[in-house]
């Protein structure tokens, strides 16, 4: 077999060009993937709660209520703190007086005085909207008043909500309630007005102990993302398949 110099050079050039094409150039994208690649935002808000650090002062609840104009004395709140005591006799008692708005200042819990010497373990658990990846509260809305933003926060359109209360029933975490003034469904917004200005949420800012943190889960250098990726964290009610985006350090099995 003979080959001319010209043909040899041409073939070499063709082979070099073909092998330079990456395999991914031949990958067929589904329309959803293609759209995601174009429109995907670089932000996905997530929350991290360190239950070891919480002392039950309730400053987060107070700050949330004042920041978000949730009626202060009404028995409703967007975030709250629960106290759990596992007693040495095996019983568990838990309470959240006024959602922990005024802190935990008494040994009295569920109308009984529990002395610390009878407690085998104790912890405070701050709770708020989990901003689920698959929010069941949004699926049940019959009018499109509640929705998830591109950066993962579930919001309620107050002008569009008809107050039917389906979402309040659908939330497995009980974070939604009926706003006594606006007469619509109300929930934690991750302080959407603050996080979009580069601030922390009101509860994160008010926490003196660093028990609450908010971060961008799509940024691998974000301290919250780093902790979630490297530490042992858990979410609430994983079995519901809602994919909560509030992660807990030191979550006990007794926490519901």
């Amino acid at each position: 077999m003979s080959i001319s110099r010209r043909d040899f050079l041409l073939s070499t050039l063709k082979i070099a060009a073909a092998s330079a094409l990456p395999l991914s150039a031949f990958k067929i994208l589904s329309p959803a993937e293609a759209r995601a690649a174009i429109e995907a935002t670089s932000v996905r808000w997530g929350f991290l709660v360190d239950t070891y650090k919480c002392v039950g002062c309730g400053f987060c609840v107070k700050a949330c209520k004042l920041e978000n104009e949730v009626p202060y004395d009404a028995p409703v709140t967007r975030t709250w703190v629960e106290r759990y005591l596992i007693l040495k006799d095996g019983r568990m008692v838990a309470d959240t007086p006024l959602g922990g708005r005024d802190g935990f200042t008494k040994l009295e819990i569920q109308e009984e005085i529990v002395e610390p010497k009878d407690v085998s373990k104790a912890f405070f658990v701050p709770k708020l909207c989990n901003q689920c990846e698959n929010p069941p509260c949004v699926q049940v809305c019959p009018v499109g008043a509640t929705y998830q933003t591109a950066d993962g926060v579930v919001l309620v359109d107050r002008t569009w909500c008809i107050g039917c209360g389906y979402c309040i029933m659908a939330c497995p975490y009980g974070v939604r309630f009926f706003h006594p003034v606006y007469k619509v469904a109300e929930k934690c917004t991750f302080c959407y007005h603050r996080i979009n200005k580069g601030m922390k949420t009101a509860c994160v800012g008010a926490c003196p102990f660093g028990a609450r943190q908010i971060g961008n889960l799509k940024d691998p250098n974000d301290p919250v993302t780093k902790t979630i990726m490297t530490e042992r964290v858990a979410v609430l009610k994983d079995e519901y398949g809602t994919k909560p985006q509030v992660y807990y350090i030191g979550l006990d099995e007794n926490v519901r």
Binding site: E39, T41, Y52, K53, C54, V55, G56, C57, G58, F59, K62, A63, L66, E67, N68, L85, D102, G103, F104, T105, K106, L107, P116, V119, S120, K121, A122, F123, F124, N134, P135, V138, Q139, G144, A145, T146, Y147, Q148, T149, A150, L155, D157, R158, T159, W160, T189, Y192, H193, R194, N196, K197, M199, K200, A202, G205, A206, P208, F209
Partner: protein, 156 residues
Amino acid sequence: MSSHVLRPLWVVIIIVILILVARFVIVPPDFGIQERGFMYGYHRKSNEDDWKAFKVKYKTRKYCKDCHPDKYEPIMSSKHRIIQCENCHGPAVDHPEDPPKLVVDKSRSLCIRCHARLLYPRTERAKIKGIDPEEHNAGMECSMCHNPHKPDMEGW
């Protein structure tokens, strides 16, 4: 076609048109399927901006620092530096324009959020110096003896 068929048909067509016109007037133009698809993203897009425009009330200590260095400096060198100014002084909102003066919460109930003694094992709470609010000088304001900006020193 006979008129007894046509007449109700016209009524139905007019009702459908009326509903479509009403829908066009009532439903905002930016209402529809957004980024998160039909299941999670079906909403009025401009509501996101409504929420973004919500008023910020807690301005954090950066806001206080420049005008009140005499208060800011001492507390930042004390154990209470972890507490934001607004936790006790209330949200700044647009202070000093509105409100011109913040009302300081000097009540005992504020201090005992952390300093009511709860010696639960293995909690950070047990490590905080605590009192029994009913026995420790009941009825008196904590700040009569303790300076909240210099909690290590007794008195003012």
